[in-house]
């Protein structure tokens, strides 16, 4: 059988660009560039400049004194900031891991439900809609040592009152639980959309070929859902790195430094100590840490994928 000859590749001739086209192209791009510079590049450059200065206020306004060495020396000796980075890392790993696993399992379970899928999905995402202050207040009451519902339930089974927020080895887990309750629905929502979009015929074909449910999940669903999983992971990791409100409301970073996350440290430096220059330097370090974490996680995911 002869193979039909293919046409030679068409030769693309580039038309010489007219000045008017160039102006049009840059003109249409300009608004986006201006927005990018004003809303992103300028604030970041300003933050970098602030981070190298000591900023003081007076009646005449803010005055900047260039003190990069002092700021970096202070950073090198800031034991509390190092602790807060470590606590944040623990918080991110624990909360995001649990949320990803739970969210994925829930997405699989709900997608297998025959009727009422929409209602279940709506009910599942309710925690995302609750304002953070309400979440903090609600869980603080539930964790209350004397009359919280959790300790009352524990008393029913003969357990003594538990210091959910006052026990140093338990406090971080207590705030992780709240975070999991709050944000697992977001992971569920993203992954549920992914599961619903999977090609049914591929899964059916695997089942006909005798694949077990575990094999289908491991060999077909997870690889096909990798983009959705990556999106959920990145979103949640970034949000978990920035956690502030619920920890501020539940523990204020205590007891001791058990729940001292970087956002709280930044809050103390910026707003309590009014030290804007050093606070800006800490912000830059946090941004770099988030980027480094996401880059390493991405690299790890790619290696696992291969």
């Amino acid at each position: 059988m002869s193979v039909p000859a293919t046409d030679p590749a068409p030769v693309i001739r580039r038309r010489r660009e007219r000045p008017a086209d160039r102006w049009f192209r840059w003109g249409t791009l300009a608004p986006a560039v201006v927005v990018l510079v004003v809303l992103t590049a300028w604030p970041i450059l300003n933050l970098l400049w602030m981070s190298l200065n000591t900023i003081e206020f007076s009646r005449a306004g803010a005055s900047f004194t260039f003190t990069p060495v002092e700021n970096f020396r202070r950073l090198a000796g800031d034991q509390l900031f190092r602790i807060s980075l470590w606590v944040t890392l623990l918080f991110v790993i624990a909360s995001v891991t649990i949320e990803m696993v739970l969210g994925f399992l829930l997405a699989l379970v709900v997608s297998g439900v025959g009727r009422g899928k929409g209602l279940i999905r709506t009910l599942m995402i309710l925690p995302i809609l609750v304002p953070p202050v309400a979440i903090g207040s609600m869980w603080k009451l539930m964790y209350n040592y004397d009359f919280g519902i959790l300790n009352q339930a524990a008393a029913l089974v003969g357990l003594g009152p538990i210091g959910w927020l006052s026990n140093t080895s338990l406090a971080l887990w207590s705030v992780v639980i709240v975070d999991v309750w709050h944000w697992t629905p977001l992971v569920f929502l993203i992954l549920f959309a992914g599961v619903e979009g999977l090609p049914r015929e591929v899964i059916e074909a695997a089942r006909v070929d005798g694949a077990t449910t575990g094999q289908i999940v491991r060999r077909i669903i997870i690889p096909l859902m990798a983009p959705a999983i990556a999106v959920a992971f990145v979103f949640r990791s970034i949000l978990a790195f920035k956690v502030f409100d619920q920890i501020f409301l539940l523990t204020s970073g205590g007891p001791g430094t058990a729940t001292e996350v970087v956002s709280l440290r930044l809050y103390h430096v910026f707003f309590k100590e009014n030290d804007l220059g050093y606070g800006a330097l800490l912000s830059v370090v946090v941004i770099l840490c988030v980027v480094a974490f996401l880059a390493s996680a991405g690299g790890l995911a790619r290696r696992v994928g291969k």
Binding site: S166, G256, K272
Partner: protein
């Protein structure tokens, strides 16, 4: 947080104050003034202040808008207000640990610039001179200082106790521990409690211990000697007593207990004694909130080896520079009205904490105002323990290290040594003449 125009509440306030003994005719006539706006914290004493503002509006016809904001939000609102071209607030209420920042920036009007020669009535308490600012010494003192603010309250601690449980009021910290051990029945009744969570609160509640044991944070701030003395043997003895009382008498979760928790313990009848600010008093006497209305009583703060130690945690009504003169005049008119004897009586009757000694003395024989005697005794011993610009930074350090001592993460000696090192760094960073004592044996 809310903003209300008080004129709208006039009708209600007229009813509220109809039964007040203070005669409306004898109140100060301030004439017609520009409308004013007040930034104030929504703390336990706010209800009394709101009521007295209603009375001002009713009597003068002048408009007052209040922005009542949770404690944590007031400082940023205040900073933003003075950094704009024109402040939205004519009166800004500042905590004693914040006002030095504003004094140093010269963003507030000395009151005698608004009303020439103005001085507070002599009966008004000066709360450790924190209303005066000596710009040359960078220190709050009447000695060469200008009057920058007036007191909406002069908060101090009091020892609050259940008179049906505590038969003999403890006069010393040792006696507090003994009394607590003899009366408590955990978890139904805790012997004593005060704040233990990592916040400014634990530092403030520790100060009566520190001061009564003869300790202090720095050697001589007024004289410019910022040598850190918080790790002295006296401070160690104070912290050991503080930790002993907290761990023996308070609930096991004391390391996470804030002001609300402590007030709740007493109001629910679950504590025999608590150390709280006098501003919380209304929570114990309000039948809708308290189970101890008939048995709660207040006593002066217990003494230590160096006597009674009381740290003042007062508030400051200030006038920003960046408002028109007419609004500054209107703010001053309110100040002058507020500090009159009649207004202070009305303030006390509405649940506020008066700042005039003649009002306290006139009222304290009445059973419902008996707490004023303890409050006045404490005021007489009160000092400003953080009279320097780095107060907020020192608070941050002490909050963490004291909390770690209470929860057992650090020994008291290690906590104080660590705190001293960090506080010295805070002072050094601002170029103060500083240093510290030799470390305590850990």
């Amino acid at each position: 947080m809310f903003m209300t125009t008080r004129r709208a509440l006039m009708a209600g306030s007229a009813l509220l104050f109809a039964a007040m003994p203070a005669s409306a005719q004898s109140f100060l006539d301030v004439g017609e003034q520009e409308p004013i706006s007040i930034l104030i914290n929504a703390s336990p004493w706010y209800g009394g202040f709101e009521a007295v503002v209603d009375l001002y509006v009713e009597q003068t016809g002048n408009e007052v808008a209040i922005d009542a904001t949770p404690y944590n939000g007031v400082l940023e609102k205040a900073r933003n207000a003075i950094r704009t071209s024109e402040s939205p607030y004519d009166i800004i209420n500042l905590d004693q640990s914040w006002n030095i920042e504003f004094y140093e920036q010269d963003v507030l009007r000395p009151l005698d610039e608004v009303v020439a020669g103005y001085a507070m009535p002599p009966e008004v308490v000066t709360c450790g001179d924190s209303y005066f600012w000596n710009a040359e010494k960078h220190f709050r003192t009447q000695d060469g200082g200008k009057l920058m603010a007036i007191p909406p309250n002069c908060n101090t601690h009091v020892l609050v106790y259940r008179s049906d449980v505590v038969k003999e009021v403890p006069a010393t910290w040792d006696a507090v521990l003994e009394t607590c051990e003899s009366v408590q029945d955990k978890p139904n009744l805790y012997g004593f409690a005060t704040r233990g969570e990592r916040s400014q609160g634990i530092h403030y509640d520790f100060l009566p211990f520190l001061l009564s044991y003869g300790g202090k944070i720095v050697a001589d701030a007024e004289g410019g000697d910022y040598t850190v003395t918080v790790n002295s043997p006296e401070a160690l003895a104070a912290l050991e007593k503080f930790v002993a009382i907290q761990t023996t008498c308070a609930p096991d979760n004391v390391g996470a207990m804030g002001q609300g928790d402590v007030i709740q313990l007493m109001a629910a009848g679950s504590a025999a004694m608590v150390e709280t600010v006098i501003a919380a008093w209304a929570n114990y006497t309000d039948p809708t909130k308290s189970a101890v209305v008939d048995t709660v009583a207040a006593a002066p703060m217990p003494e230590g080896p160096a006597g009674r130690g009381v740290a003042i945690g007062n508030w400051h009504f200030t006038i920003p520079r960046n408002i028109p003169d007419e609004r500054a005049q209107a703010a001053m008119a309110f100040f002058q009205w507020f500090l009159t004897e009649e207004a202070q009586v009305a303030y006390a009757e509405a649940g506020g904490i008066p700042v005039r000694t003649d009002v306290m003395e006139a009222l304290w024989d009445q059973p419902e105002y008996a707490w004023m005697k303890a409050y006045k005794t404490n005021l007489d011993a009160g000092v400003q323990a953080l009279g320097f610009a780095e107060g907020a930074g020192v608070d941050q350090v002490m909050a963490l290290r004291l909390n770690q001592a209470v929860i057992g993460e650090l020994t008291p000696a290690a906590a104080l040594n660590q705190a001293a090192k960090e506080i010295e760094a805070v002072f050094a960073q601002r170029g103060r003449k500083t240093g510290s004592l030799p470390p305590l044996a850990e």
